[in-house]
């Protein structure tokens, strides 16, 4: 079952002509006839939740925008996909760029914005080119720009290529970056719907969220709700990587069992190995051990039930040959490298945690280091401007709690070496 990934693998879909032949831009026309408020209501009723990681209801977010556009409004598409383990937005953009552009146009129309920015990750060279080309085509045929389809609606679309910083995927960091400033998250409040990019009311949505919008507008909220659960409706792309036989992007209804995803959809674990751990939502969420993974359902609530988060559904599967300490050390290194450096706990804490992890990995750790790690990462939760800092705690803490033996093995090796 595919909604947004129907045309993955078909290069023809990138062409505007093909996209239109296959029913493209009909949703935009329909949206124009519905009026902005009805579009918002439809998306609200569909239960679509933000696919960037937080899972905030999209229609509700749109409804925060002022009803009268006394100032320019902006729609921002967050295409700065950079969570380790995630590769869904890139695929959505390179196979089906017009689906995203149409989603952006509908969303912009719904929030009364006349300008949509697609902030694309710097490293996505090919993707950038594909999307930029598609935007050019859309302009040429009058699907974007001034007076779209003669409807009187003006919506400009600009593709902006980032410079490759994880923090620019944080919504306000992205805004600063788009304005030409350092990519540093802003203090909230004010929230983007009041003061966003260029100081104007703005809404920011993930690529996957916006890609689903044309389908919801075309087919209605009930159609979308046929998949998923009551509180997590619809389908979701799962980026499965790691020690499985068939890694890749899989579009599945939310609420899909994780064990079925691994065993059936992805063809099981490589070499028939046992399952050691799964990270279900990208590097920022808690690691599951095999027992938890077996009973995890892949929707927002199901993940919370087993003590983790769905995040952006980047499923990283690790078999029983995996060195958990090394994996977590690499994640912490990533955060230390990507911290913008504003907030003290994140700037100092992430680098410090990375130093401790490195020491443990090379066999120079102590048992006290584990307590220090737990406390240091705890001190980084809820104390900073954005949640990059908070993201260090789940992998570190969950791995120490669930795979303590792995850590202790490295520590005791050192201790016994010291004894001889």
């Amino acid at each position: 079952m595919r909604v947004i990934s129907t045309h993955f693998g078909d290069p023809l879909q990138r062409r505007l002509g093909t996209y239109v032949e296959r029913g493209g831009y009909e949703a935009l026309k329909k949206a124009f006839s519905m009026g902005p408020d009805e579009v918002v209501e439809t998306v609200k009723a569909s239960g679509l939740r933000g696919r960037g990681g937080a899972g905030f209801p999209t229609g509700v977010k749109w409804s925060f925008m002022p009803k009268e556009a006394t100032k320019p409004h902006y729609l921002l598409c967050n295409a700065d996909e950079s969570e380790p383990g995630t590769f869904k937005d890139r695929e959505l953009m390179r196979w089906d760029p017009h689906q995203l552009i149409e989603g952006c146009l509908i969303a912009a129309y719904a929030i009364r914005a006349k300008h949509a920015y697609i902030y694309c990750r710097g490293e996505f060279f090919e993707t950038n080119q594909v999307v930029a080309r598609a935007v050019e085509d859309a302009y040429e045929k009058g699907y974007a720009g001034e007076d779209i389809f003669g409807s009187g609606n003006d919506i400009a679309v600009t593709v902006h290529q980032g410079a490759g910083a994880y923090i620019c995927g944080e919504e306000t960091g992205l805004m600063n970056s788009l304005e030409g400033r350092r990519g540093e998250p802003r203090v909230k409040p004010p929230f983007p719907a009041a003061v966003g990019v260029f100081g104007m009311p703005s809404t920011i949505n993930n690529v996957e969220t916006l890609a689903a919008v044309p389908h919801i507008v075309n087919n209605g909220e009930e159609w979308y709700r046929q998949w998923g659960t009551e509180s997590s409706p619809g389908t979701k792309l799962f980026c499965v990587s790691g020690h499985i036989n068939k890694p890749g992007n899989y579009e599945l209804p939310l609420g899909f069992p994780l064990s079925e995803l691994i065993d059936d959809v992805c063809g099981g674990i490589r070499n028939g190995n046992g399952l050691k751990a799964v990270i279900p939502g990208g590097s920022s969420v808690a690691i599951l051990n095999s027992e938890e993974a077996r009973r995890c359902r892949l929707d927002y609530e199901g993940c919370i039930d087993v003590g983790t988060m769905l995040g952006c559904a980047s499923v990283i599967v690790m078999d029983d040959t995996t060195d958990i300490v090394k994996q977590v050390r690499r994640m912490v290194d990533f955060y230390a490298h990507e911290s913008c450096g504003q907030c003290t706990p994140c700037r100092e804490g992430s680098a410090w945690a990375a130093q401790i992890m490195k020491r443990i990995e090379i066999g120079e750790g102590t048992v006290e280091d584990l307590d220090t790690l737990m406390e240091v990462t705890e001190q980084m939760v809820g104390t900073t401007i954005c949640v990059l800092s908070d993201s260090v705690a789940p992998p570190v803490q969950s791995s120490i709690q669930k795979f303590r033996a792995d850590y202790l093995a490295l520590i005791s090796e050192q201790e016994s070496a010291g004894a001889t």
Binding site: A165, I167, R182, V187, A336, H337, E338, S339, C340, G341, Q342, C343, T344, P345, R347, E348, G349, S350, A351, W352, Q355, I356, R359, T372, Q379, G382, T383, T384, I385
Partner: protein, 532 residues
């Protein structure tokens, strides 16, 4: 009247205007919430995360520097979460801080040192090697010790928001981020960069001039007024061993806020200058001179004057003289028969305002009491470099009294024709050769008194140094002479001298010495002028 909000901070109810931050509101109940990045004169990035406090109903601690007060809010700055957060942030700072307090200029007045002592852990848990940036010359008077930096970005924000000349920035990110200049441009040529040393909460930015000069705890702090222009910036003189070691701005939102210019900041060596006149000097008709005591000197003065009844008295004063000094001299002049009153002052080519606080500027008049001199009817003469204009005085054959003007442009013939030439000053020069009396007076740093700034604000200063030898304040010397001549009572304190002045000058009526306090009062005429 702004709308008021009532809230409770640490159990104490407080009423503050709507829009006030929790951090500012807490100050009103005497609670300073520890912070680094926040400074009242600049925007708040809320990035140091020290000032997080518990707000009832909020899911997590709030940054008190950007969270504004709400009606019936209950704030706890000492909750276990707030204290744990501060303890945690302080430990994070020390992960890479070099703890080189023994050789750091900031030691003793450092916010990191103070807060760690107050609330930090006894022992840090970090055993990792520390990150090393080393030292960098930022140009101007500023040296940067990157390892001590807590990345509060106050300096970056001062340059971009207050001086509005972006010379500093943050480069790199994460814990590699560091303050830097733009290539080799640095701070050279900026006129207010000394302030970034003041606002640096730690020893990351230090003054080259003050580098390793004295320990902070050996300095005495005396409230004073900058004597370098007519703005009247409120300052503190930091002294040790009877020398001014450095000058720091003192907060006064009406005058200079938290800032002062580099020109005024570094213009203090003249106060320490040696070779002072230390004892009264009396020169007789034969040209031979003798140093003597005050009683003898004043007797000589009165004797010299008594033979000259009816001649005019020409006075030359300096714009560095206090209101009390100048008033004592003008009154004495009136009693002795009256005459011309002049002062000279150097001028800068142009005013140089601080863009982010434009009512503060290095004014054109490079003297602190031009306002006071003009209020007392003393006229400005001479060139803009503070020379010339004394042709009429120079050859005057009556009485000449010079107070404070160093007469450096004049030669030995100055006052040679005078019946009586009295020089009250700090240093001898060619033009004092003909003086019948050379009387040592104190500088503003050695006496109490007031200056009147460019907008008519009268501000007090306090003695920071011991005067050399027998030097005395001019108001005391001249007051004693006046008392003899008019059979009055000489003022015994600067307060009394000011009281005499306030009674005599209509514009100052109603002002009291005590009432001026630390931040000064605006005279009536100035208030009227601003109302017109």
């Amino acid at each position: 009247m702004p709308e008021m909000v009532t809230l409770t901070i640490d159990g104490t109810e407080v009423k503050v205007p709507k829009g006030t931050t929790i951090l500012e509101a807490a100050k009103q109940v005497g609670k300073v919430i520890p912070h680094y990045c926040y400074h009242p004169g600049m925007s708040s990035p809320a990035m140091c995360r020290m000032c997080l406090v518990d707000v009832e109903g909020a899911p997590k601690p709030q940054a008190s520097c950007v969270t504004t007060v709400m009606e019936n809010q209950v704030v706890d700055t000492e909750s276990s979460a707030s204290v744990a957060n501060r303890r945690g942030v302080l430990e994070f700072y020390l992960v890479n801080h070099p703890l080189d307090c023994p050789i750091c200029d900031m030691s003793g007045e450092c916010d990191l040192q103070d807060f760690v002592h107050a609330e930090g852990r006894d022992h840090g848990r970090s055993v990792e090697p520390k990150r090393v940036f080393g030292r960098d010359d930022f140009g101007g008077d500023v040296l940067f010790y990157g390892d001590r930096c807590v990345m509060c970005t106050r300096c970056v924000r001062f340059m971009s928001e207050v001086e509005q000349d972006e010379r500093l920035t943050v480069v790199e990110r994460g814990n590699r981020s560091v303050i830097d200049t733009f290539f080799e441009k640095g701070l050279d040529g900026t006129e207010w960069h000394g302030n970034i040393v003041d606002i640096c909460p730690v020893g990351a930015l230090v003054s080259k001039e003050f580098l390793h000069k004295t320990r902070a705890w050996d300095l005495d702090h005396t409230p004073s007024i900058c004597a370098s222009c007519s703005q009247g910036c409120n300052i503190e003189l930091h002294t040790a061993e009877n020398l001014v070691q450095r000058v720091k701005p003192r907060e006064n939102l009406e005058v200079n806020a938290w800032w002062m210019c580099d020109y005024g900041r570094h213009d203090y060596e003249w106060i320490n200058h040696g070779q002072r006149i230390e004892a009264p000097l009396v020169r007789d008709a034969t040209g031979s001179s003798r140093t003597t005591g005050w009683k003898d000197a004043l007797t000589s003065l009165l004797e010299g004057a008594s033979g000259l009844n009816g001649t005019s008295v020409q006075i030359v004063v300096s714009a560095r003289g206090s209101n009390e000094d100048l008033a004592a001299l003008t009154k004495l002049q009136d009693v002795m028969g009256g005459g011309d009153k002049v002062f000279r002052v150097s001028q800068a080519d142009e005013e140089s305002a601080l863009p982010g606080f434009p009512t503060l500027a290095r004014r054109k008049d490079l003297g602190p009491n031009v306002g006071g001199a003009e209020l007392l009817g003393i006229s400005r003469v001479g060139e803009s470099d503070g020379t010339g204009g004394l042709e009429a005085v120079k050859d005057h054959d009556g009485i000449i009294i010079v107070l404070g003007d160093n007469l450096e442009d004049q030669d030995e013939t100055f006052g040679a024709n005078a019946g009586l030439y009295v020089y009250l000053g700090t240093h001898e020069c060619a033009a004092t050769k003909a003086a019948h009396l050379v009387l040592p007076v104190t500088t503003f740093a050695e006496q109490e008194g007031t200056f009147t700034n460019h907008e008519g604000r009268i501000q007090r200063f306090w003695p920071a140094l011991q005067p050399p030898g027998m030097a005395r304040p001019a108001w005391l010397i001249l007051g004693a002479v006046l008392a003899e001549l008019s059979e009055g009572v000489a003022p015994r304190s600067a307060a009394e001298a000011f009281m005499n002045l306030a009674e005599a000058v209509p514009a100052l009526r109603g002002l009291t010495y005590e009432g001026m306090g630390l931040s000064g009062s605006v005279s009536e005429t100035a208030q009227h002028a601003s109302l017109d």
